[in-house]
């Protein structure tokens, strides 16, 4: 029973991490890649660690509970740190005036800049 819950949590975490990775590779510019990294990374880490913390409780003892609490510490830490790191990286990009990808209003309008030309090659 416990094992099934653990498996469910971890599979869900893996699925979200897969989505994150695909997003990081496929999104057009650095800002939208950070969207994937900031959200997916947090949730998939939380789910995977929650699964491991639960599995750790299958031999119930004081030590096991304390170890699970430590994994909970890591979860809380990631919950605080991951969005903050996302924000810091994005702020750095904004300060360095990395341009964000904009949708073409008409199909004929050229993509401005090197990065967007690359995106045009691999839409």
């Amino acid at each position: 029973m416990l094992n099934i819950v653990v498996m469910g949590l971890m599979l869900l975490g893996l699925f979200f991490f897969f989505g994150t990775s695909v997003g990081i590779v496929r999104f057009p510019d650095f800002y939208s890649r950070l969207h994937a990294a900031g959200k997916g990374d947090t949730l998939s880490s939380i789910l995977l660690l929650a699964g491991l913390a639960l599995y750790n409780l299958h031999h119930l003892s004081v030590d096991a509970i304390l170890v699970s609490v430590k994994i909970l510490f890591i979860i809380v830490f990631i919950f605080i740190a991951s969005p903050t790191a996302t924000h810091a990286i994005m702020d750095a990009g904004y300060e360095a005036r990395v341009k964000h990808w904009v949708k073409r209003k008409t199909p004929k309008e050229p993509w401005p800049g090197e990065e967007r030309r690359r995106q045009e090659r691999h839409p």
Partner: protein, 168 residues
Amino acid sequence: MFTLATFIILAGAWLLLSGKFDAFHLALGGISCLLVALISQDLLFHERKKGLAARCGEAFRFLPYSCWLLYQIIVANFHVIQLAISPRLCERELDPHIFTFKTRLKSDFAKFVLANSITLTPGTVTIRIDEDVFHVHAISRKAAGDLETSETMSEMERRVAWVFEGRA
């Protein structure tokens, strides 16, 4: 007063971390907590105007907020995965833009919670906070939602204000 509160919180963290309850290790923990409480007493409780009781209230109101946030995070992830996996949706929906809005939250910590919540919820990431102006990058027009459009306060800001300032 605040140093004592810091000490108690740190002692709790120590007990959970160490998991050894004999006298020697407890004494070591006491010394460590005292040391940290002294060298970083102004960190955990930065704004001294609010009393401890108000902070406990914040902590209690934070719990339902975090449940709502968790739900939002899950929605956000499905959104990201949809955008990432389906090419057509990517083509149609993706319209990144940067917008700014002015917040009414006063304290730094409330701004921090709001900023991280914006980052974790669908389609929006906080870029920076200038005084009380938030710069937000939204991945599509729809995702920006009422953060961009609302004249007074968006839903999320109202919730954060409820947690930290006690008004609805």
